[in-house]
Symmetry: C2
Subunit: 323 residues, 2 copies
Amino acid sequence: MSFKPPRPDDVLEAASRLRNVARHTPLLQSVRLNDLVGGTVFVKLESLQHTGAFKFRGAYNSMSRLDRARFPRGVLAYSTGNHGQAIATVGKMLNIPTTVVMPSDAPHVKVERARQQGAEVVLYDRKTQTREAVAERLRAAGGFMLIPPGDHPHVIAGQGTVALESLQLLGQDGVEVVIVPCGGGGLAAGTCLAADACHCTAEVWAAEPEAFDDTRRSLESGSRETNLASATSICDALLAPTPAVLPFSINQHRLSRAVTANDATVLKAMRLLFEEFRVVVEPGGAVAVAALLANPSLLRGRRALVLASGGNVDQHLFLQAIS
Amino acid sequence: MSFKPPRPDDVLEAASRLRNVARHTPLLQSVRLNDLVGGTVFVKLESLQHTGAFKFRGAYNSMSRLDRARFPRGVLAYSTGNHGQAIATVGKMLNIPTTVVMPSDAPHVKVERARQQGAEVVLYDRKTQTREAVAERLRAAGGFMLIPPGDHPHVIAGQGTVALESLQLLGQDGVEVVIVPCGGGGLAAGTCLAADACHCTAEVWAAEPEAFDDTRRSLESGSRETNLASATSICDALLAPTPAVLPFSINQHRLSRAVTANDATVLKAMRLLFEEFRVVVEPGGAVAVAALLANPSLLRGRRALVLASGGNVDQHLFLQAIS
């Protein structure tokens, strides 16, 4: 399967498809955060989205177009995390069967949550199989539409609506910088398209965990770099080994830079968001705020939109962040 | 001091005063909560308001009208909690001096937070003095406008804007019931006026901690009943000993009933709100949701607006709720 990259207009179309379906999530300022960075930061609390993450938008934007005659077995996805939950939830909403491929050692609660949404869960052995191979074998048997977490034009366009609805509120000259958490790069790519769609010339920055700075290095080298297999981070939503193909084809032209934060700073950002807004943001969702805390002079005198992209955090980790 | 009760139009006026000042907080549904009660529940997450509670609205609505010539020393309030923080914060926003009377054994962090907002903190000995007497002595010395937490028409009208902005979204026939956390009754009274202001005939229910059901008993008897001095509850924002005069004059005619929940159910409601919306709601803010969990048949087949009124929770208590 290969797709043509989505274009700015696709984000506008996704937005009309998502109208009255996705939540219009809050866009808030914190005096304390503004003071810390010496600038103006608008935080988009996408953790309040259905399923607790922006992934709902891409899932709905793709699945609501599904040709049921062509894909009678519905939608197939591989993800233990936010993308899988979004696919299962949208499947329930739209009455589309869903199958989610998960490792057999995935947390029981995540498997159960997907099943509760009506998804069929296919378990595989992480030691002997890859999720892509398992999913591809199912897909090849026929009847399934495979929706990958980032490498799909409707997914990217859907994710772009997070920034689009923020920029439409802020005005096309409302901010000079947009900072977005980045794993495979789907949200970043959608954000780049959204900025162009509303004629906003703001820089777009990717924010990555320090040990998963593949997009930063890829922007420098001009080709898709990989992370060390031994790399670790608490940002479980951002552990892609390398930038996804389709997102990177957009990001390499429109992203201005990538910034990073380590785990300790991510925990600080989670705490700050808890104290300032009384919300729960997951590590990967807090990495853009964390990158500002790590580099507080980056935004001096500037105005920025910062995406807090999800809130599905392991309870123990959240307790660690706020204690 | 005695005031004329506010009227529905005062809530509309407060709303225009608060436009672009107060946050338009999210109004969300949870499939799980809907399933639990067999009805449709719209939860208004006012915990995301400035200062983390609806009290910001009443404080701003009163303080933005302050006659500085008449009250050169600014605003005086007695409250360790959300009202005091709101007064201090609005004082900083509007450059109005504020004085907050707090007991000398108040948590250090609350005293510090008020001071950080520029408030002067006057400490008193809880064993030998009452906060009302201390505040009254300061007020009598001249120059201060005293803003009580509920017994004030502009405060009540400001609090009414929480329900107003929800009902304006939902439509005048959008819900059949509005459920609102109730301590002194200011938020409940404002909600009654708001319903009338938008010609919404929905019932308004007060929700109280089980041991602080003074409003429930007062509605039955027709006069302001008091709680036992020995009563305890984790709902620290709702521990008023008796309904406030002005709010009760409204509530006794417009409230349909009062419902209650005990501490254990309040903790469950906090956990549900955390899991469903990834937000932090304080015990008093969660009591209306808790009352539904305690009586899950109350809303069967009905549509309700439920206010989650604040999010300033002690960290240990929050950990207890979600563990």
